[in-house]
Amino acid sequence: MPEMMTLIGGRTSKQGTSLTHGKLDGEYLEVTSTVEMNVEDMARLGLKNGSRVKLRTPEGEAVLKCKGRETKDLPRGILFLAYGPLSSQLMAGDTAGTGMPISKNLDVEVEPVPDQAGP
Amino acid sequence: MGSPLRIVNGRVYDPANGVNGVVRDVCVRDGKIVDDVPPDAKRIDATGLVVMPGGVDIHCHIAGPKVNLARKVQPETHRDDVQLRTRVTRSGTGGTVPSTFATGYRYATLGYTTAMEAAVPPLGARHTLEEFHDTPVIDKGFFVLVGNNLLLYRLLQEGRLEEFRHALAWWLTVTKAYAPKLVNPGGDEMWKGQRNANITALDDKIGAFDLTPRRVIAAFIEAANALGLPHPVHIHCNNLGHTGNVETTLETMRLAEGRRAHMAHIQFHSYGAVAGKSRSNPTSRARDIAEYVNTHPNISADVGAVMFGHSTSMTADAPLAYMLYRIAGGKWVNADTENESGCGIVPFTYQDQVYTNALQWAIGLELFLLSEDPWRMVFSTDHPNGGSFMTYPRLIRLLMDSEFRKQQMAQVNQKALDHTSLRDLQGREYSLYEIAIITRAGPARLLGLTAKGHLGVGADADITLYEEDDDKEKMFAAPRYVIKDGELIVEDHEFRDDHGGRVLHVAPAYDAKIEQVIEPFFEDYYTIRFANYAVDDRYLSHHQVIPTAAPAAAATPAGAARP
């Protein structure tokens, strides 16, 4: 049963340092395919660190690994994801006459992916 | 540098060489004016055309950090005033702050071939030179802002005058500047450090420094003369735009005590107050200013005339810009530069029915008409502060055509005119010879550009050919030919070629030990390394160092040399 959460895209220093290795490198892909989630939300959804979740917007969907953050650091209902190929999949092309697609605070459907479903 | 060229039969105005409307040939070779060229040289038939040296703008704002901010903040002014690309020239946009390419091409299409950017913080020098690289046709230089420089203040405060002079020379040299510029001395420290306060008088204390504007200005005048710079210190006085500022302006000029000093856009500094009213509307004190300049050959000024319509106020005088923002509303840009300067930008429209605006317009004209030495009271609108350089042809007409002037006067706020002497000056009209002085020969001489502003042998072959016309605005708006460094750039009003233009700068000598004084200050208070501060020569693809005179020669005011 999917539930709605708010996805914040952003940059991290780890993403930054991995970027300089090259964007086709494993570390960069690893960093940009891990979504941070509130630990209470994770518990409720039966997710552990490293579990896989599917995020979906009207534009597209992406499967990511999740990683827990304490409530004081990341409120319930909020997700954080470093920009990269997977966050792109969720963004719409409409910029409302600004040139800027919305990439922070996207409404996303969150759905756990059963372990056996993954490669 | 182009093939030899003979301009045949033009009516030549070359005041620096005493040539007043004589029909004769002008010969060009290798980018210079020469005595003669071979008979097979290319010829331009200039019959019926007026031949003048290329125009020289002594004070304008065309490149650098604040100009680019002013460009960026006004997309709406670029939209409907565009510069189309041609096969050989780049496109651009206009408005009161045109893009770099449009700036160069438009100056050229007015017959101007040299322009001086009048206010660049040292930290913005590299940026300014980058824009110069993309400003075609014209030769250009910039005045570097030193009047609010905190290291120079420290040296001055501690009485280290020799080091002060070496530091000034260092700053001019490493930034590739043309002249030192003071803007509202002391004002930045009040603005940035004292909750947006300002200097109100020459004897105010400057923030935390044990200094006054009076001491700062005097020190710069002294140092600039001692360095023998081709152009002396270029001063934007305190209290610009304020009612009653004429006293500050006169006092500032007196500080020169016979030494050379150039007063920028003096129109903005010629305001009186209605007697007995401290917060009155301004009145004109153009007569007092004109009289002082007329009788003091050490002083020169550019007028900074105001023209009605859109302008952009952009200035290193940040408190002034804030005052204008409080009047005009709309957009306001402020930009502080560490240890060196402030800056403010406000789009502004001068309206003929507004008392103050009409008064400013009238004072500009008064100063021209009251001037007795066109060599020392030269042409400017402080582009784009008083109006765009594109208004120059109209301003020339106002000076040359008293009937036109009268018509224009009838359309402005009459109360403002009541507070000026403009109506008494109807008899005065500028001749083409005098126009050639205030737009070419005079500014070139004040800048110490010996190869500019004249058509004598050895001069740069920067030449403009106008079609004579009773409507002087029309005549000066579109020369038929413009020649830069001997190359035909504009022919029959169309671009034939592109051209880079040169950077003009000075390199006064300094004692290298001064760097040991400057470097520790950088370590403490700058966020750029000392080693990365000086601008290297790669930013000067085409350039020319204008030599400094021996210090003794500097005592002779250039303006006085040839009345």
């Binding site: 910029t95 | 240890n339 750029i528």
Partner: protein
């Protein structure tokens, strides 16, 4: 490691918009590696450490190895043929290369845009609406006794913003450094930056505009309803306290990030903050600065502005520059399917653009200049390997505060610079077109208005 080491002092790091110019690089000359980057932050260290010379083809055409010259010919042919060529990227290259790229766009009658449009482009639009009170970073170091970070995470994205420019350094009027400043951080979540703040204000996602608007009202002495807390997560008391501090300080500064620009509200969020800084100047000195991401994105803004009058998203198809975000910005041009060719310089839109834009990139001929292989270079018709600016080539870059610096390269690269490749493409296009392409349209619709009229 060889024994052939040299040290390049005062080198400049171009990883982020801080553009710190105090790097002392130890270079292994034989191995073409930087072995030590003194003064660099964690990001800078990675940047310098990882940029060696890789064995890559000079160019790939349709995935096949080719010479740079063959790549130039193919690229020029593609661009000269195109009716709506899009030139994009440019934030990680020198101003000298940017300058050539704008000239190429002009010559072609194409469209040029930089990564600004998906970074602080909305702040640029906000600036065009309300202006901005700003400062060079040294003013923050020397004078700022109150600094408000809004919608950014400098500790991770711009580490030395804290240590070199804004938070801890001592300055002329800030003799005790950190102790003399009040640091406020406003964000929707706690980040690595939060511990640096004296005051952390956590706002609900998507309510920055309301918070800023309420602050503006309070600064102006207007009433704000206490329901502000329910809507934004920030109580009226907290806002009132902030306003009192803001008015009390001597020199205040906002440093704001993409938490404002990439969020619902976009340019209006930035405009609200810029307007707040302007409002505060009635009481004391305040400045605001967008914190810029890429090493020379500020240079790109400057170059495009001085050449065209507009900072990004500029179209030349009618023979003169036009600006209209949403119409001529890259995401829109691609997502709508307008472009029929693309030239991407030092950027990787295929890995961070919205999906519909990436889909279109796959449909059209793409030319890429990049020192490294990227997702974008993988889908390119022509992919050039170029030298890395600041490491292999010199040139000019602008810090986020518009201060220009000259790069000091550490060691040479066998690959050409972006500027060299772009210049070669431009020169070839000039031959193919016989000069600049003549304007397609007649004069603009509105009659040209003299600036003075």
């Amino acid at each position: 490691m060889s024994d052939n080491l040299k040290v390049v002092e005062n080198a400049t790091c171009t990883f982020c918009g801080c553009v710190c110019d105090d790097m002392n690089l130890t270079v292994d000359v034989d191995e073409h590696r930087i072995t030590k980057a003194e003064n660099a932050c964690i990001l800078g260290k990675a940047w310098f450490r990882e940029h060696g010379i890789e064995q890559r083809p000079f160019a790939l055409i349709d995935g096949h190895e080719a010479t740079t010259e063959a790549g130039v010919e193919e690229a020029a042919q593609i661009l000269a043929r195109a009716r709506f060529p899009m030139i994009y990227g440019l934030s990680d290259t020198t101003c000298e290369a940017q300058r050539v790229a704008v000239g190429l766009a002009d010559m072609l009658g194409g469209t040029i845009d930089t990564t600004t449009s998906v970074c602080h482009g909305p702040s640029g639009i906000a600036f065009q609406g309300v202006g901005e009170s700003t400062a060079s970073l040294g003013e923050l170091k020397n004078r700022a006794d109150m600094i408000v970070f809004w919608g950014g995470n400098p500790a991770e994205a711009h580490p030395r913003l804290f240590s070199r420019y804004a938070v801890t350094p001592k300055g002329m009027y800030i003799p005790n450094g950190r102790k003399d400043r009040t640091i406020v951080l406003v964000d929707v979540r706690r980040t690595a930056s939060t511990p640096a703040a004296d005051i952390f204000v956590q706002v609900k996602p998507r309510s920055d505009f309301e918070v800023l608007w309420a602050l503006r009202a309070l600064v102006k002495g207007r009433k704000v309803d206490p329901s502000i807390e329910r809507r934004t997560g920030v109580s009226l008391a907290v806002l009132e306290d902030l306003v009192a501090r803001m008015k009390r300080c001597n020199y205040g500064a906002f440093l704001f990030g993409m938490g404002l620009t990439m969020n619902r509200g976009r340019h209006f969020n930035s405009a609200a903050l810029l307007a707040l800084a302007t409002d505060l100047n009635q009481f004391t000195h305040w400045v605001a600065k967008p914190v810029r991401g890429h090493g020379n994105v500020t240079g790109a803004d400057n170059v495009v502005s001085w050449q065209t009058g507009f900072p990004f998203g500029v179209n030349f198809s009618r023979g003169y520059p036009r600006f209209n975000p949403g119409e001529f910005t890259t995401v829109d041009v691609l997502a709508r399917g307008d472009a029929d060719a693309a030239l991407i310089i030092a950027s990787d839109p295929a890995s961070n653009f919205p999906k519909p834009a990436i889909e279109h990139l796959k449909r059209i001929p793409v030319i890429v200049l990049d020192p490294k292989a990227t997702l974008t270079s993988r889908l390119a018709r022509v992919a050039f390997t170029t030298a890395t600016y600041g490491i292999n080539v010199t040139g000019t870059v602008y810090r986020m505060d518009d201060v220009a610096l000259t790069l000091r390269p550490a060691f040479p690269s066998p690959y050409p610079s972006d500027e060299q490749v772009l210049t070669a493409i431009r020169d070839r296009v000039r031959v193919l077109l016989g000069g600049n392409r003549l304007p397609a349209g007649a004069a603009p619709i509105a009659p040209a208005v003299a600036a003075a009229s």
